[in-house]
Amino acid sequence: MDTELYKKEFEEIFIQHFPKVRTFAAILLKSEQEAEDIAQDIFVKLWEQPDLWEKNLVRNYLYTMVKNHIFNRIKRKNIESKYLYSQINSHSLTEMEEFKDPLNEIYHEELQLLLKLALEQMPDKRRQVFEMSRFMHLSNHTIAEKMDLSIRTVEQHIYLALKDLKKIILIALFFIKF
């Protein structure tokens, strides 16, 4: 086999799989640049391993490689920046009582993450009001003063925030139970 054929074969695999590897890394690392670096490294290695170019093998191999690369990057970052992460005290959310379930004890961390994700998705004002109310335990009156809002608006924000939370948690619970 000549080098041109070898190159052509490689490029076909590249065109088919490179975008997938890059996208997968980009959505987990939320960084296009890091994703591009990782994807390029993986394919530079793949060039030297034609024995892995076979259709099914290459998919498994690329998944394993991209996952390892992503995990290594994350682990390296974690060691460099020892951050502390805040705990949402889900017990302070009495509205979440109805979701008390033995499974939720096992998946405590996962539930926390879901709650935080729901908070991340909220508009800024709504999240701030909700955090003041449920985590800092401020009264609606105090929040209204601090944020320069009417009490009705504060109540409305809290109502909508709880609705968002329940929606996300309920969907997750639904999948778990059935």
Binding site: Q40, N60, Q121
Partner: protein, 329 residues
């Protein structure tokens, strides 16, 4: 079960999250707890991620392809510089010849060969028997790819990590273990191979029989005799033959831990594979002093750490959740 995992990953992908949350999510993702559940959620995300199509190759992909070709050339140049002038031409020819034979050999037989992926999680060791009767012990966090049937002229498997192979005899069908940087060919023999991606040191130790080790980037091959260990350092590109204590090499298969003249950082890397804890430490806080330790099977992490700290002296540790924090005294 565990659709919490799919849900979290899906939501994370869709949400424009803060830097703090991103760090927390990533820490959760890489934590050992529920790693299987997370892996299957990641796999389903992987399957949903679209592949490129041939009709419309994007300019971005085109650009990346150019970059990759450039990097490949740079790597090849680096390797070639290592050969004496007189070797240069023949080395290049040999590499191409080797790659093409390999390519054809694989292509011919892999028409319907389904590959099986065996992964060993942290803190476990997997025993498996390949279709030809070869016995494999796969160390923690190692992955082995092998076909459902060995139908070609060779029996080829692909290893990431560390494993011990007791190869069943079949002179007509050589047994080949491939890895990123080297490949080992055996007829009927027992050997131990360590090719963890994060570790620049690759090693192959022959217990009995005979094997041939070939580096993918070079044309050199080594034939090992029993009790010989070939070490290759990916960074310095140096190789050496050692005569280690075979009991040390196979210690991991009995659950024992043996460290010989290694730094604390290297020790922690091994402990991270053996115990389900992540080590957290500042890189510059550890000295490069080398230590020797030997631990019996089923020694707990606390017992191991107490002894290491006692010897090293200037550090302390604390275990919280799935983390083992190391800090200077």
């Amino acid at each position: 079960m565990g659709n919490y995992f799919n849900k979290i990953i899906d939501l994370f992908v869709k949400t424009d999250v803060s830097a703090d949350f991103q760090a927390e999510f990533q820490k959760w993702l890489t934590a050992e707890k529920f790693s299987e559940e997370k892996d299957s959620a990641l796999k389903s995300l992987w399957q949903k991620t679209e592949e490129g199509n041939f009709a419309g190759i994007s300019s971005q992909t085109q650009q990346s392809l150019g970059e990759v070709h450039k990097k490949i050339k740079q790597r090849q140049r680096k390797v070639n510089i290592r050969f004496l002038h007189f070797w240069q031409v023949s080395a290049a020819c040999l590499t191409i010849a080797l790659l093409s034979t390999l390519y054809f050999a694989i292509n011919k037989k892999s028409v319907n060969a389904d590959l099986i992926e065996q992964y060993t999680p942290i803190a476990e060791i997997t025993h498996l028997t390949l279709p030809d009767g070869t016995q494999v012990q796969l160390n923690s966090t190692a992955t082995l790819f092998y076909p459902e049937q060995f139908t070609g002229e060779t029996r080829s498997v692909y290893l990431i990590g560390e494993a011990n192979f007791k190869v069943s005899k079949n002179k007509k069908q050589p047994f080949i273990v491939k890895s990123n940087d080297l490949q080992v060919t055996a007829l009927g023999t027992e050997f131990n191979m360590q090719v963890y991606p994060g570790n620049p040191i690759l090693s192959t130790t022959l217990l009995s029989g005979s094997v041939e080790v070939r580096f993918n980037n070079m044309t050199t091959t080594h034939i090992l005799k029993p009790n010989e260990q070939l070490i290759y350092n990916k960074q310095t590109k140096e190789d050496a033959i050692n005569y280690p204590d075979i009991g040390d090499i196979t210690a991991w298969q009995r659950g024992e831990l043996v460290f010989k003249s290694v730094t604390l950082k290297e020790i922690f890397t091994v402990l991270e594979r053996k115990y389900p804890y992540t080590f957290v430490y500042a890189l510059n806080s550890l000295k490069d002093d080398k230590y020797m330790f030997r631990f019996k099977e089923k020694t707990s992490l606390e017992e191991v750490m107490d002894i290491i700290i006692g010897v090293a002296g200037n550090i302390r540790y604390s275990i919280e959740g799935d983390k083992c924090y190391i800090s200077p005294l």
